[in-house]
Symmetry: C2
Subunit: 266 residues, 2 copies
């Protein structure tokens, strides 16, 4: 069993509740990474349903930071039809809800095969010509142990922030692959959409950008291999910004899209 699967594991505790244990390895800055939390909740929702294994849409509102350690995920099915189900789920730690979500699940394998997209696949140099996360300075890796959980290769064209020269365009691009060569699936995509540094790094604003809300759409089962992840923001205003994320699989398909609203780093 891969590290990722161990760390998102949930145990049924009756009445739609599941126990999980947030691994310390997903900490970044002051809390546990929001994408990892989404994957843990997503795994509990999957376990609560019979034949609808895949997240199709999930919206998460981040109420408070979570810490490593035990949590309870409560799930409540609001409506279940033949092909999709809508579920509300909360991640509770101590007596406080840290993350509340709504989600629609189904079976992505049952969807028709049509693809008619005008979205353009991001262009990146091959992974071995990109900048690996292992090159991050020791002090960064100490406050962001999550960077040990995956292999991330930054597009050199959008990595100026790492040497104090952000492009100012509001774009980050990277290759992404989980440890243990754990292949991507719809659940791991929930992590992938929130695993890169905030796109505000490329605007010259390093620092933590707390997510208020994040919605992800998973559109297809990803093919095995490296994923391409692109983050972009266009509208930084009123102390907040939107961050759009696209995830493309090794077959060149746009497999997930997300948008989050986050607070501008201080």
């Amino acid at each position: 069993m891969s590290e990722f699967d161990q760390q998102i594991a949930v145990q049924p505790a009756g009445d739609g509740e599941f126990k999980a244990d947030l691994a310390p390895g997903w900490v970044v800055g002051g809390g546990v990474n929001g994408g990892y939390l989404l994957a843990v909740i997503g795994n509990a929702i999957r376990a609560s349903l019979q034949d609808k294994p895949d997240p199709i849409a999930i919206s998460a509102y981040y109420l408070a930071a979570a810490e490593p350690g035990p949590v309870v995920v409560t799930t409540r099915t609001l409506r279940e039809g033949r092909t999709i189900a809508t579920v509300a789920a909360d991640l509770v730690q101590g007596d406080q809800t840290r993350l509340t979500t709504l989600a629609t699940y189904g079976d992505l394998g049952d969807l028709p095969d049509d693809v008619r997209t005008s979205a353009e696949e991001p262009v990146l140099p091959p992974p071995d010509e990109c900048v690996p996360n292992t090159m991050a300075p020791e002090e960064v890796r100490r406050i962001a142990p999550l960077m040990e959980r995956f292999d991330m290769r930054f597009d050199p064209a959008h990595v100026g922030w790492a040497v104090g020269k952000p492009s100012g365009n509001g774009v980050l691009q990277a290759w992404f692959r989980l440890n243990d060569e754990r292949e991507p699936d719809p659940l791991s995509l929930l992590l992938t959409v929130d695993a890169l540094p905030p796109v505000t790094f490329d605007l010259g604003m390093p620092g933590w950008a707390p997510t208020l809300e994040l919605t992800a759409h998973v559109r297809a089962h990803p093919a095995p291999g490296w994923l391409k992840v692109r983050h972009a923001t266009r509208n930084m205003a009123g102390g907040m910004f939107e961050e759009d994320c696209e995830v493309w699989d090794s077959a060149g398909r746009l497999v997930a899209q997300s948008r989050q609203l986050a607070r501008q780093p201080r």
Copy 2:
């Protein structure tokens, strides 16, 4: 009191519940318009909070179509801090939840003034050089009385679908203004992001496109006057498509962004 304000009115019924009456004038095809439902829920959430009048982010999952007539909106505050509150709200008709939402509210007037956007304002001819919704054929207006609720002027460059010549680009643009010259505000923007025909019209797929999920971000108080609304889709696949919406105010500011996941019209 404008028609819109009358039709989104809510009456407190105790315990975070509000009664409302869905107006028949917002029907389109088989149900009540989803943007109008969002504005009704949004008004109830506003009424449930003391000093946080504005939606900042709201995510809606559409469980079943709603009909004109009485509904109950239940609200539950999940967390309230100094500047923002997160609320769960459901719209219930008969004994069935039709729409379930999560939302973050605050006071948009309290946000800092910074605007640093790379988004480009859509270019449209002036309203009187665009195609008004009043030109829709009588049979369309009969099944879509919501078109009587606002003045909508379609960009001629993206209105080929109306004469059987869709551009195939997946873009719609229009000017938008509510009846009674009711000026836009953060609440009316919740309607505006889902008031145009589905963007799939421009892909040669007329017909109803049921929304699974819609998330809107309201980023600023809109200036009075006409709004510019732009819908675009890039990824039609697996029988679903995403629809991105931008709303720009008369001062040239991007005041709302939304994305929905919808089923492809049959």
